[in-house]
């Protein structure tokens, strides 16, 4: 059946609302967070109304039911990324926590002063700061794959860095500003050839492209539910089994232990070793429902729809005099269009668009070094997802002409 965006949109209650009387919402900020379909909202609502109890250890019926729902969601997520087993998927709060988990546990146990970690110039702050913190603590060395003028990673500079015996390469699968889709499979193969393991930031790629951890042969994959039509407050870390087994625990507390004595403890098996305390249970259930929703639409259909909208948006945006797009050509790019418009400050652009109900992001989008690289303090970013329409792109373009009228 053909993908009908107008039918899809009916699943998202928020897309029906008006921002102000007579001004419908035009939501072009899905790269920050995606909107939620009724099936996800309903799954969480049902959990609280019908099945709520704390998970594991409980003997009563409700505890068994909630545990089953929590673990069933894990199975769905594992299957979605083609993880060889469920236990290799660890629940976290979000992508940021997943990356921090690796830095704090694997990084602290395996990296020492002088060891090289390779990052890129296009990383989100969440894949920069944890490594900077570890660098301060342990004296590890950070080097960066450079970004070319057209927004691609310079693989020659990567090749050169790989000759310096790196221990870890951590990079984004898809840039949240440029939209660049990096050649992850090739880059992972190159890293392994140099003896390094790879952490992939999948915050943008898992929701939009579909990611197969076995085909990529990636060692760690970090992603968030809320960018893939799931709830906030929950994300996941996938890891290869031998790595997860060998890593020390992350946070200490209940659930992550097998035995506790007054002065010692024995950690639990994976994944529970990394899941201390009562987790976000309803959110896990919502995460599972989000995966169901994406699977039901089909990741290929979603990607194809986004591609069509992005192509159209880029085509219409470059018509606007004074508008400069950041990032590569459409064929290397996900559904993101960051740009500058004449000398107008992105805050002013976003404010005028907001007047017409158009939600875009203005600022550095948690990628300050990348903006510095391109010599601009900030940009305006419109992003597209499975419910975006060409009509919304047209409204964006009309709004940008209005900005030009004000500041022209």
């Amino acid at each position: 059946m053909a993908y009908d965006v107008n039918i899809v949109r009916k699943d998202f209650p928020i897309l029906q609302r008006e921002i102000r009387p007579g001004v419908p919402l035009v939501y072009l900020d899905s790269t920050a967070t995606a909107q939620k379909p009724v099936s996800v909202i309903g799954a969480m609502d049902r959990f609280y109304k019908h099945s709520n109890a704390n998970i594991h250890r409980g003997v009563h019926a409700l505890a068994e039911e909630s545990t089953a729902l929590y673990e069933n969601a894990r199975e769905k997520i594992a299957k979605f990324i083609n993880s060889p087993s469920d236990k290799q998927v660890i629940y976290t709060r979000n992508t940021t926590e997943s990356i921090n988990l690796v830095a704090y546990t694997w990084g602290r146990a395996n990296l020492k002063s002088g060891d090289l970690v390779i990052l890129t110039e296009m990383e989100h702050h969440s894949n920069l700061v944890p490594w900077q913190m570890l660098s301060t603590e342990k004296g590890i060395r950070l080097e960066f794959i450079s970004v070319t003028g057209d927004g691609l990673l310079d693989l020659d500079s990567y090749q050169t860095l790989l000759t310096q015996n790196p221990k870890l390469v951590a990079f984004t699968h898809m840039s949240n500003v440029l939209g660049t889709i990096n050649p992850a499979k090739e880059m992972i193969r190159m890293a392994h050839g140099a003896g390094a393991i790879v952490l992939l930031d999948g915050a943008q790629s898992v929701p939009h492209l579909g990611v197969d951890v076995q085909s990529l042969d990636v060692d760690f994959l970090a992603f968030s539910a809320h960018k893939m039509v799931g709830p906030t407050g929950i994300g996941a870390l996938y890891g290869k089994e031998n790595l997860l087994e060998s890593m020390p625990p992350f946070l200490g507390g209940g659930d992550m232990i097998k035995v506790v004595k007054l002065r010692s403890f024995k950690p639990n098996d994976i994944p529970y070793k990394f899941e201390a305390g009562t987790p976000a249970i309803a959110e896990a259930v919502g995460f599972g429902a989000a995966v169901d929703y994406l699977v039901q639409l089909g990741m290929e259909n979603i990607s194809a729809h986004e591609h069509e909208i992005t192509d159209y948006a880029l085509e219409r945006l470059i018509e606007i005099p004074g508008l400069k797009l950041m990032g590569p050509e459409a064929n290397h790019k996900g559904g993101v269009a960051a740009f500058t418009l004449d000398q107008v400050h992105p805050h002013d652009v976003a404010q005028i668009l907001d007047h017409d109900g158009i939600a875009v992001r203005a600022g550095h989008h948690c990628a300050q070094p990348l903006h510095e690289k391109f010599g601009i303090p900030a940009s305006t970013r419109a992003s597209f997802y499975l419910y975006s329409t060409k009509n919304e792109v047209d409204k964006l373009v009309d709004g940008l002409y209005k900005v030009k009228k004000y500041f022209g």
Binding site: H347, D348, Q351, I352
Partner: protein
Amino acid sequence: MDDLYREVIIEHYKNPAFRGKLDPHDLSFEDSNPLCGDHIQIDLRVDEKGVVSDARFDGQGCAISQASADLLLESVIGKSLDEIKVLNKDHILSLLGIDLGPVRLKCALLSLKVLKGGVYGMGSATDDLVE
């Protein structure tokens, strides 16, 4: 939108009267809003009685932050440093003639933060200076 981007704001943003640097100056301060990258530097000339005789600002930012800076400097020439110390957000809002939400308020208040932080001789400006 007409409420937010009043003519006076667009006019002061496009044609600021007090943009530039003062050389020599008696006081110079600068600060940034890390959220949006807005940056403002203010130079003051102060006479022997502690009264501001001239002022200029430089920097980059949105229309609200830059227009506020221009309007603010226009309003403080002839004022004593003690008078500047008691200025708050109401002063800026009355200069702009509009009401602002919390995010844009930060843009509007950046220049006053920089000015007061400098007058108080603080290393950096803080939000409570302008409340």
